[in-house]
């Protein structure tokens, strides 16, 4: 199992850095969601773990070694990243996109090995995008497109998957579809997943561990059934709510209490 760890990292400069002296170890072999209000630094933490942002203090360790000591290509064979709203050129076919996930494993003289072919095939069938492979990405629905991007990160064949808001802009059915896939990858393919999620209920539903952040620090971290409480939501989000228990799973469900001002008076 790959270990990924942020060791007292400070990201950003000046009096108000985005992350302050933060230490976090990605729980290996599990699904972890980072949640928190807008601007709390959750995407920044994910991007720092993915070596996209250099910490001004502290360091990120991958398997005990500073991540910057390894070649970025070597890191890319262990850690795949799905950025928030990724961009693709017009006319790019799904198969073309997924093939690009093989980049860190290829050389100019070895661009389509049998292994590449197998991994791309697996990524397509896992994400159920095999029938879409000859279609341009820009013609797909949001959910299909996100599955294609997930297929690309899968083709990268890494133990660690970092997903930055993988469900943004998707309707509820597609959000559930993407998160089901993520959990299946974890359970059946033993991928360690870290993702940033906006929706607390989905985070509680689909994660082994929830990491709650506010103002650049981690407020709480652990099993969602234990840590998601009314008090935590009130202190982190400043939101008054009830926390119910899902009758099917026993997992917490956050129900905001509407303030008088929020109720239309007619």
């Amino acid at each position: 199992m790959s270990e990924l760890r942020a060791e007292s990292v400070t990201v950003g400069y000046g009096a108000a850095p985005v992350l302050r002296d933060l230490t976090f170890e990605v729980p290996a072999g599990r699904v972890t969601s980072i949640v928190g209000p807008n601007g709390c630094g959750k995407s920044t933490l994910l991007r720092t773990l993915a070596r996209l942002l250099p910490p001004s203090e502290g360091e990120v360790l991958l398997d005990g070694e500073p991540i910057d000591d390894r070649s970025t290509r070597d890191v890319a064979r262990r850690l795949a990243l799905l950025p928030q709203s990724p961009t693709a050129p017009e006319g790019l076919l799904v198969s073309d996109l997924v093939m690009r996930g093989r980049h860190p494993h290829q050389r100019w003289f070895r661009q389509w090995s049998p292994k590449d072919e197998t991994m791309v095939g697996e990524a397509l069938s896992w994400t159920d995008t095999a029938e879409l492979k000859d279609r341009p990405l820009d013609e797909l629905s949001g959910g299909q497109r996100q599955r294609a991007w997930l297929a690309m990160t899968l083709a990268q064949d890494t133990e660690l998957l970092l997903l930055d808001e993988p469900t943004t802009f998707l309707d509820l059915a597609h959000q559930v579809e993407v998160l089901d896939l993520v959990v299946r990858l974890n359970r059946e393919r033993e991928r360690t997943v870290v993702m940033v999620l906006h929706d607390l209920n989905l985070a509680a539903r689909y994660s082994d561990t929830v990491v709650v952040m506010r103002d650049g620090v981690i407020v709480d971290e652990g099993d969602p059934a234990v840590i998601v409480t009314r008090e935590l939501i009130a202190s982190v989000f400043g939101l008054e709510c009830e926390v119910l228990s899902d009758p099917r799973t026993g997992l917490p469900i956050v129900v905001p209490v509407a303030s008088a001002a929020g109720v239309p008076t007619g």
């Binding site: 070649s71 990724p86 197998t118 069938s125 492979k133 000859d134």
Partner: protein, 364 residues
């Protein structure tokens, strides 16, 4: 994994796997066909360009002369000593411009980002015009080796300096495509103004020489002009072909590219340096052949139906366009019109079409 997917399934349809031992490539068939047809077309326009002119030589004879066969001395001289060098200049300059444009457009993820638009060619032009006007060597002899060397050198230095300035101004924690284009447009406008000012203040004969150079004249260009371009192409073509995979990753945005293990800033620097060197060397050989670097990669892209301006086809079709422009100016159009006017006449309307077309997304 429940079942292993069949091996054909993973490959995009319309591509063929090429494997030799441990070496392997994926060849997109349509792209290969487009490039192959382009090569055939290039051979045809080159042959016709060698055949037609003030004295026509039958194409069959041209081929025989090229293959070292017997022909009248006078025809041989026209084909080998007059037309062949000029045609070769057109071929290599077109290839260099096409490749340069394909690189910059991919880099900036923007079809507007060609070296013409980025100000690199304007910078090269300013360098050359400054050389003509300030040294006055053109008054003695426009074809003296010193003049030619100085002119090409000045254009090259102008192009490279512009690129450095462009980097310095556009760099803000890395290079971002749209900012690069906007700053390039600004620089280009400033350099054009500088060129105009030099032309206005110059002596009449210098201004005339500079004006002809500016409009991209291929007439009486020869091996001396072709050599620097050929050397640059020989060095840079292998580098850019190795860069293809990196370009593919770069297209997915900075974060994805880095996630895939691309050394982002290093790759960007290599791509842009190659592109600038190609554009500067092409401009220094023949002057401003406007829009070749801009139009050709986009045309090749549409022929291929890919997602990125193709490097090889952009080179081939760039060569076709410039040779065709040379042919037109030498045979159909009134004497003395420079080839740059033909490429501009094609490029201008194309730019407008590109900006007007509704289906595709806005690019600025």
């Amino acid at each position: 994994m429940t079942a292993t997917p069949s091996t054909i399934e993973a490959r995009p349809s319309g591509s063929a796997a090429l494997r030799l031992g441990r070496l392997s490539w994926l060849v997109p068939i349509r792209a290969a066909v487009v490039a192959g047809l382009g090569l055939l077309l290039l051979l045809v326009v080159v042959a016709v360009n060698l055949a037609l002119g003030d004295f026509d030589v039958p194409v069959v004879k041209v081929v025989r002369i090229l293959l070292g066969g017997e022909a009248e001395q006078f025809q041989q001289a026209i084909v080998l000593d007059v037309r062949l060098p000029q045609t070769m200049v057109a071929v290599v300059v077109g290839a260099a411009l096409g490749l340069s444009g394909a690189l910059t457009q991919t880099f900036a993820r923007n079809p507007l980002a060609s070296p013409d638009v980025l100000g690199v060619t304007e910078g090269a032009a300013l360098g050359a015009v400054a050389f003509i006007v300030l040294t006055g060597t053109a008054r003695e002899s426009t074809s003296s080796p010193l003049h030619m060397l100085g002119l090409s050198g000045a254009a090259f230095v102008g192009g490279i300096l512009t690129a450095l300035l462009l980097f310095a101004l556009a760099w803000r924690h890395g290079i971002e495509g749209n900012r690069l284009v906007l700053i390039g447009i600004g620089l280009g406008a400033a350099f054009s103004a500088g060129t105009s000012w030099l032309l206005v203040t110059a002596r009449l004969e210098d201004a005339a020489t500079a004006q002809v150079w500016l409009t991209g004249s291929l007439s009486s260009r020869g091996w001396t002009d072709a050599k620097p371009v050929i050397v640059t192409l020989l060095i840079l073509i292998p580098i850019t072909l190795v860069l293809v995979r990196t370009l593919n990753a770069l297209q997915l945005g900075d974060d994805s590219a880095r996630g895939l293990g691309v050394r982002l800033q290093w790759s960007q620097l290599v791509v842009l340096t190659c592109a600038v060197a190609l554009a500067a060397v092409a401009v220094s050989a023949v002057g401003l052949l406007e829009f070749v670097a801009f139009v050709v990669p986009q045309v090749a892209l549409r022929l291929m139906r890919g997602s990125r301006p193709p490097l090889v086809s952009s080179m081939i079709y760039g060569a076709v366009l410039v040779v065709a422009a040379d042919l037109l100016t030498r045979t159909v159009l009134p004497f003395g019109l420079p080839a740059g006017l033909v490429t501009t006449a094609i490029g201008g309307p194309y730019l407008i079409w590109l900006l007007l077309r509704g289906k595709r997304k806005a690019t600025i």
